[in-house]
Symmetry: C2
Subunit: 159 residues, 2 copies
DNA sequence: TATTGTTATACTCTATAACTATA
DNA sequence: TATAGTTATAGAGTATAACAATA
């Protein structure tokens, strides 16, 4: 896991120790989640509510689709949306032509909050990565993208 | 945030689109958390219980230290340890010379589970990153390490 | 019959406030 | 008084199972 550090492959990264890709990614994920948790808490939100706002930012979707994206049981999605609706962040809207389906959409308030939260997350992550050189930040961005898209592809094929 | 993709700075990464460092890191963190959640669920654990095992893997620690590391209120740590102790994964051990303090330590069973879980996580992340070339995997590892250690340093200074 | 969603129930996880006991 | 930890309470989040309504 951990890479033996040689001058040849070092390519100048300041880190003297290398956590390895396993612990590195795990710890990085907790770091980002902690950051998201802090931003969410500022607005009285949990991470899952933050995520709900993020998912609904660019689409309107049914309960079943929501539970698939958030990897929740549909009954959990019901409760999640109930609480968000109680706070007037989202609305259940009827679907024309299918009377048993509902779509969940952001309210005006929810849209504003989603925008604010996204901006704050962007600021914090920018700060977090501020010490990286531009090429390294781009490397990181591309590597993260590769993993995320690769996993999405693998998961669609297998399931 | 998103990087304009030019032939010059492309450095050959297969990703045609780049999520940008903000969305890339956020989505990557959810991907890793989802992976951790699947591994945890296999053993009837939650992510926080998984984390508890991970934290106690190489140290024995008091409730207050635990709550700082896990970013929980101390009362939340009490409940967490209560439930883990009920499942015989950890033990509260008295601290000699300080009768109001307790340390939390893994039981034999907890140690075995922590090892098993860590191995499974390693396997899954290895699979996840299997398509990366060795140099790219090393880049990723070093970049993750840089962010994690940098944040730890920044946070110790500020708090 | 299958699909979409909700309800009932029970448990985990979490925070706040108040408490005990020791330092 | 300050520190280490627990208890009481309330609410969010989650899963399982059973249900209702529509397709």
């Amino acid at each position: 896991m951990a890479t033996r550090s040689t001058l040849a492959d070092q390519q100048s990264n300041d880190a003297v120790v290398d956590l390895g890709v396993v612990d590195g990614l795990v710890q990085l994920s907790f770091l980002i989640q902690s950051l998201l948790g802090r931003v969410a808490a500022r607005h009285g939100l949990s991470i899952i509510q933050l995520r709900l706002l993020g998912v609904l930012r660019d689409r309107e979707i049914g309960m079943l689709g929501l539970s698939r994206i958030l990897e929740l049981e549909k009954s959990s999605a019901t409760g999640l949306v109930d609480r968000a609706e109680r706070r007037e962040l989202v609305r259940r809207v009827p679907v024309v032509g299918n009377r048993r389906a509902v779509h969940v959409a952001l309210s005006e308030q929810g849209q504003a909050l989603a925008r604010a939260v996204h901006a704050e997350v962007a600021t914090e992550i920018t700060t977090l990565t501020a010490d990286l050189s531009a090429p390294k930040r781009d490397q990181l961005s591309r590597l993260a993208t590769t993993l995320v898209l690769g996993d999405a592809a693998a998961r669609s094929l297998r399931l």
